[in-house]
Subunit: 351 residues, 2 copies
């Protein structure tokens, strides 16, 4: 029996709504946890969440510790290919994986707006549980707060993730060296365009789907096949262009990219032309940029292509010496342009 | 030189405001990190944040791993005795400490409302840095998102914390046994009443201050002096009454409390009478409830009183056998009442 039940009634998961009592820490909070969160997160071999204390305690990890966090404020909450829940899990899993860490545990903080429908919350929680299962991580700790109507936008989720970095793995955004190859794992811009076309109600015949996915499996596969892997980064907010600028600055190098080798779907390219956007600045949620020694690039791309999430991997350019840390791109027409940092805000609340 | 600077101008930390570009992940985000966050969080021996990757990587920990998270949505952002920043650090530190963990690392996710003044954000960041120093933890990872004006309430902060539990320490909310002593570390209700009197602009001669503090030092001291310590919990949202109900249910016991032994300041008691509130349901942010074998209670209270944050510690009752898991209180007038779970919401957004 759930002793936290109020007047003996179950939560109405179909028509019910979040109210301020669900964030008060009393009986209503306990009921929300027992009837909505626990059935999805507290299952299988996840014995940690079940401890029911203010912290989860897990065994001593077997390697260096990795910690990462991401806030998620995407709008709309649901979009083709995912929702705020899949983003919240995969975003943090990927930030851990980019350091070569094996993601193990997640925490999730929910900030809910009074009036949020329990059905929407349940849908998001189900997505999170499925995404955690797919990534092989366990959600072990959480917190819920409720703010008054109009003081948040439905639902914000902040996840933090803990992982272990196996001995010998040393990936760092500062490790790119002139001559290295720059690789991407697949088509760019899908997530950003999926959100945008959903917002603008484009009504495409076949809607562009977000690429939202957990990359830790692909990364483990890459580490197995490429000992000279220097660094990984996922080109989320700001897209490929911004990520390459970050890495160039961090490594104290420049980069030269060939536009013709950068994979962008026709549908994304067409939608970008319609909106006047550049796909290289659009967010991705299931792609990565890798840098490795040039001699190993072909083998690495081949290994990536044998993994489902890397099947469209491609070498897109090389690292060069440049005191200005510029990212230059040879265009498909043979010209050259500078791929600058993202200026301003193209698409607010993309993740 | 900060290459992320826009048009070569520094952020105006006195008159500037957050806009959507600060959350876009591009140049403005980089500038916010470089000029506002980094000078306060990236300092001393905190070499982890400085890595500048999407995750922080730290040495292999020396014990079991503890993970906890808390969302902070307190209003107002600033109040006597603290602000949302001190709460965000101490709340998560305390959740780790209640499991007997030594807190090591924090992550922080900031959800900012467009229009938030940079001066307010800076004030909060300074508080967080000072609170982290005082607690001996390092903020190693963070994320910032910005939402449009009216879609959040100034500033929400979600922290997650990682700690290690030393071998031999086994605290668990399920471990209270009939006959055990129930102890609190000091005056109850200060935080809740500090927030409430700030909101209601009570204008007290000497304002009631929040008790917001990191309890990991006190906990380490208690563990040294009391091998029979069964469990710890901090009575935050829902106050002492709710915490005792949680623990009774988790341990499958009841509790009998003596009202006359429960420490509540005169000023808090008076303000509670004025508002018609019960101090035992008010939130605390620097207090803990401990349960230990009755034979060790006197020695534990003495040890707690020798620590600054436990100087008003007191035994307030005992654990009893009760299939209904009721918390009963003998009132100062000799009657008995049931201390029930918190119903409804007394004070929204108290933390």
């Amino acid at each position: 029996m759930n002793r936290a039940r109020i007047d003996g009634r179950r939560l109405d998961l179909r028509h019910g709504r979040i109210d301020l009592t669900h964030g008060a820490g009393g009986r209503a909070t306990a009921q929300l946890i027992a009837e909505l969160f626990a059935p999805h997160f507290d299952r299988g071999d996840n014995v940690w969440l079940r401890q029911g204390n203010d912290q989860a305690i897990m065994p001593r990890p077997s390697g260096r510790l990795a910690l990462s966090t991401d806030c998620h404020v995407v709008t709309p909450l649901f979009f083709p290919g995912g929702d705020i829940g899949t983003l919240a899990v995969n975003g943090t899993v990927n930030d851990l994986a980019m350091g070569g860490a094996r993601p193990l545990y997640l925490s999730a903080g929910f900030i809910l707006e009074e009036g949020l429908s329990l059905a929407d919350l349940l849908r998001v929680v189900r997505s999170m549980a499925a995404a955690a299962d797919a990534a092989g991580v366990q959600l072990v700790a959480g917190d819920t707060k409720v703010v008054e109507r109009g003081k948040a936008d439905g639902l914000f989720i902040t996840t933090a993730g803990v992982g272990v970095v196996p001995d010998g793995v040393e990936l760092d955004g500062a490790c790119a060296r002139p001559g290295d190859a720059v690789i991407v794992s697949g088509y760019l811009g899908d997530h950003g365009m999926a959100i945008l076309s959903q917002r603008e109600a484009l009504g495409l015949d076949s809607p562009i789907e977000s690429d939202c996915a957990a990359l830790n499996g692909l990364v483990a596969h890459m580490l197995e096949h490429c000992p000279s892997l220097r660094l990984l980064r996922d080109p989320t907010r700001g897209g490929l262009a911004n990520t390459l600028n970050e890495l160039s600055q961090q490594s104290g190098v420049g980069m030269c990219i060939n536009e013709s080798t950068v994979p962008v779907r026709l549908a994304v390219r067409a939608a970008c032309e319609f909106f006047g956007l550049d796909p290289l600045y659009l967010a991705n949620e299931g792609k990565l940029v890798a840098v490795c020694a040039a001699a190993d690039a072909a083998a690495l791309v081949e290994a990536m292509r044998s993994h489902q999430l890397g099947r469209d991997a491609a070498v897109i350019g090389e690292v060069c010496a440049d005191d200005h840390n510029f990212v230059r791109m040879t265009t498909t027409f043979g010209g050259e342009r500078l791929l600058d940092w993202l200026h301003g805000e193209m698409l607010p609340r993309i993740c």
